[in-house]
C-alpha cells in the first residue's frame, strides 16, 4: 500500500513535466494545427538559460553583491528564463514556420525537426560535450509520511506546474488574446479576415508554449540536475504523444494526458518487470487510441494535410 502511494507521488512529479511540455505542444497544435518538433529542444534551451541565470545569481549572492534568498533566486530564474525562451520560440516561428504557412503541415514539421537538430548541435559546439550540473537552489528536505517519502522539491514542482497550467487556462479563457487564440483554433482562414492579426497570434502562441517549456526545463533542473544537449529529444517526442492524446487544442486534455502518460510509465515499471516498461506502456497508448480514436477531448474531425 505504501509503495502504491509512493508511486502516486512519483507519478505526479513525473507527469508534471510531461504535462507542462505537452501544453506547449498543444498550444501550437491547437491554434495553428502544426507539429512543433523543435519544442523538445526549446525545453532544452530553456533549461540551459535557466542554468546560466541561476548560476549567475548564485555567484552574485556568493560574492556578496546582492543577498537573495534561494526561493527568490528560483522565482527570478523562472521568470527571466521564461521571458528569454519565449523569444527563442518566436524566433523559431519567424524562421521556420511563418514562411511555410501555406505549405503542407508536414513540411513545417520537418523544418521544426531540423531547427531542433541545429539547436542541439549548436549547444554542443558552443558549450562542449560537458554535461552541466544545475545548481541546487533549494535544500532538499524529505518528509516521511507514514512510509511515503515526499520531498519539498516534489511538492514545489507539482504546485508550480499546476499554477502555471491554471494561469494559462485563465489567460486563454479570460483575455482578449486568449479569445483570439481560441477563435483561430476554430478557423484560421476566416478569423484573420475579421481583424485578428494572425502573425501576432502565432508568435504569441509560440511564445507562451516556449515559456512553459522553459519553466518545465528549470523545474526539471531542480528535480534532475543533470543537463545535456540531447535531453529534450526523447522527452519532446513523448510529450508530443501526450499532446495529441489530449485532443486538439484542449488545455485540460493535454495536461491530463501528460499526467496520464506519467502515471502509465511509472506504474507499468512498478507492477510489471521494468524491462518491459516501454513495450507495455505504449501498447496501452495504442489501445486507448484504438478505442478513443480522437483522444480525450478532441472532436471527431478529419485532419487534412493541406496539400
Amino acid at each position: 500500500m505504501t509503495s502504491f502511494l509512493q508511486n502516486i507521488v512519483n507519478a505526479l512529479q513525473w507527469g508534471s513535466f510531461y504535462a507542462l511540455i505537452a501544453l506547449g505542444y498543444s498550444m501550437v497544435y491547437g491554434v495553428l494545427m502544426l507539429f512543433n518538433f523543435a519544442h523538445g529542444d526549446i525545453f532544452m534551451v530553456g533549461a540551459y538559460i535557466g542554468f546560466f541565470v541561476s548560476t549567475g545569481l548564485v555567484a552574485l549572492s556568493a560574492l556578496g553583491a546582492l543577498t537573495l534568498p534561494s526561493w527568490l533566486i528560483l522565482t527570478l530564474t523562472i521568470i527571466v528564463a521564461m521571458f528569454l525562451t519565449s523569444f527563442v520560440g518566436m524566433l523559431v516561428e519567424r524562421i521556420g514556420y511563418r514562411p511555410l504557412r501555406g505549405a503542407p503541415r508536414a513540411s513545417a514539421a520537418i523544418t521544426g525537426l531540423m531547427i531542433g537538430i541545429i539547436l542541439e548541435t549548436g549547444n554542443l559546439a558552443l558549450l562542449g560535450a560537458q554535461r552541466v550540473s544545475f545548481p541546487a537552489l533549494i535544500e532538499s528536505v524529505t518528509y516521511n509520511i507514514g512510509g511515503v517519502f515526499v520531498t519539498n522539491k516534489k511538492v514545489l514542482i507539482v504546485v508550480v506546474s499546476l499554477l502555471l497550467m491554471f494561469a494559462l487556462h485563465q489567460f486563454v479563457q479570460r483575455t482578449k488574446w486568449g479569445m483570439a487564440m481560441r477563435a483561430m483554433a476554430v478557423d484560421f482562414v476566416v478569423v484573420p479576415l475579421m481583424g485578428v492579426p494572425l502573425n501576432t497570434i502565432a508568435a504569441l502562441t509560440f511564445a507562451l508554449g516556449s515559456g512553459l517549456a522553459a519553466a518545465a526545463g528549470i523545474l526539471f533542473g531542480v528535480a534532475y540536475p543533470v543537463l545535456d544537449p540531447y535531453m529534450g529529444i526523447l522527452f519532446g517526442w513523448k510529450a508530443f504523444v501526450a499532446a495529441i492524446l489530449g485532443g486538439r487544442g484542449s488545455i485540460l486534455g493535454a495536461a491530463l494526458a501528460g499526467f496520464l502518460l506519467g502515471f502509465i510509465e511509472i506504474f507499468v515499471a512498478a507492477i510489471f518487470p521494468s524491462t518491459l516498461r516501454d513495450l507495455i506502456a505504449y501498447s496501452i497508448i495504442l489501445l486507448i487510441l484504438t478505442f478513443r480514436p480522437h483522444g480525450f477531448f478532441g472532436e471527431a474531425y478529419s485532419a487534412k494535410l493541406r496539400l
Binding site: 513525473w14 524529505t142 526539471f220 540536475p225 521494468s274
Partner: protein, 389 residues
Amino acid sequence: MKSFKIFALLMIAVFLLGACGPAAPETIKIGINAPITGDIPKVGEGSKYAAEMWLADIEAAGGLEVGGKTYNVELVIEDNESKAESATKVNTKMITQDEVLVIVGPQSSKQAVPAGEVANNYSTPMVSPWSTNPNTTLDRPWVFRGCFLDPFQGPVVANFVSDEFGFTKAAVLYDVASDYPKGLAENFKAAWEELHGEGSVVAYESFTTKDTDFSAQLTSIANSGAEFFFAPQYYNEVALIVQQAHELGWDAPIVGSDSWGSAETVELCGEDCYGLFFSTHYAAAGATGATKEFIDRYEAEHGYVPDDVGALTWDTLHLVQQAIVDCGEITGDIAVDRQCVRDALASITDFNGITGDMTFTEEGDPIKCAVIVRISDAGEYEFYKSACP
C-alpha cells in the same frame, strides 16, 4: 574530334608521368574512430583530447622512433555519430583510403562490434579502449581491447560486498537498452546468486537510456528488502539515481562499477555520493606517478579531470605505440606493417599503463586488475582495495 585527340594524348602523358610519381611520405597514420556527435559526445570528446595529448607528446619528441628511424605521426580522427553504420563506414574509409596502420576505437560496443568485423576483414589491427562486449574481440585475431570484460568485474563487486558488509540480499538497477550496464548487471547477478543462492537478488530493475526518473524502480527496490543495490551506470545517471534514492528514504549502500569513475560523478552528484564504493580501472584521487601526471595535465588543458574513457584511450595509444616500436621496422608496405603491429600487440606482456598493468590473452582481451574505490567525505576517489583475477 581534335579535342578528343588532345585529351587522349594528355591521358597517355599522365599515365607515363604518374608511373614515376612521388613516394609516400614517411608518416605513420593512426585512426581514431570516436563518437563526437550523437548520444555520447562526452565520450568522443574525452577520446579526442587524450589522443591529441598523446600526439603532442610524440611531436615534442620529434616523432616516433622505430628501428632507428624517426617517423611523423598523423592522427586521423573521424566522427562515427554514435551510429553503427557510421562506425563501419569510418573504419572502411580509414583502412582503405587513409591507409592507417592501426585503429583506436570505437568506444561503445554498439559501434565496436560491427566496426571490429570490418577491421578484422581487412586485416587491420584495431584496439577499442572502452568496449566491454565479449563479441567485439571474439574470434577476431585483429581486434583488441584496452579494458577488462564484464564477466570479470561482476564477481569482483559481488565478492567485495559480501566480504566487506556481509550482506546477503542484493538489488540491481540498470539500463536495459545499453549494452554495458546490461552485461554487467547480468554478470553481477550470476556471481551474487552463486555466492548466496538462488533468489538472493531480490530486485532486478531496469530503465531505458535517456530516462531521468527512476522513482518507480527505486520504490520497488526499497520495498524488496535489499540490503544494498548495484547500479552499473554512467556518471550522469549515477547522480540522478543516488539523489532520487536518498529522496525516497534509501540509506543503505549503493555500489557502482567502473563507469562511475569520471570526475563528473561527484561534480554532478555532490554530497549524496560521498561514502559510496565502486570498482574501476584506476582511482583518480589516490593516483601517483604517470597516472597523476596524466590527470593533472588533462585537467590543466581541458578544465576537468578525465573520465575513464580518456585514461583508457591514453593507455591504448601507448600500447599501440609500444607495439609499433616493438615491431622494429616500418617497411612502407601497409599489409606487412599491419601484420607486424598485430603480432607485436598480441605479444605485449606486463604493459605498464596508467589504468593498470596489462597482458593480452588469446582473444585479445587484457588481463588487468580492478580496484575498489571509495568516494571520500571530501568527494575524492580513494583507493580502497585491489582485486586481481
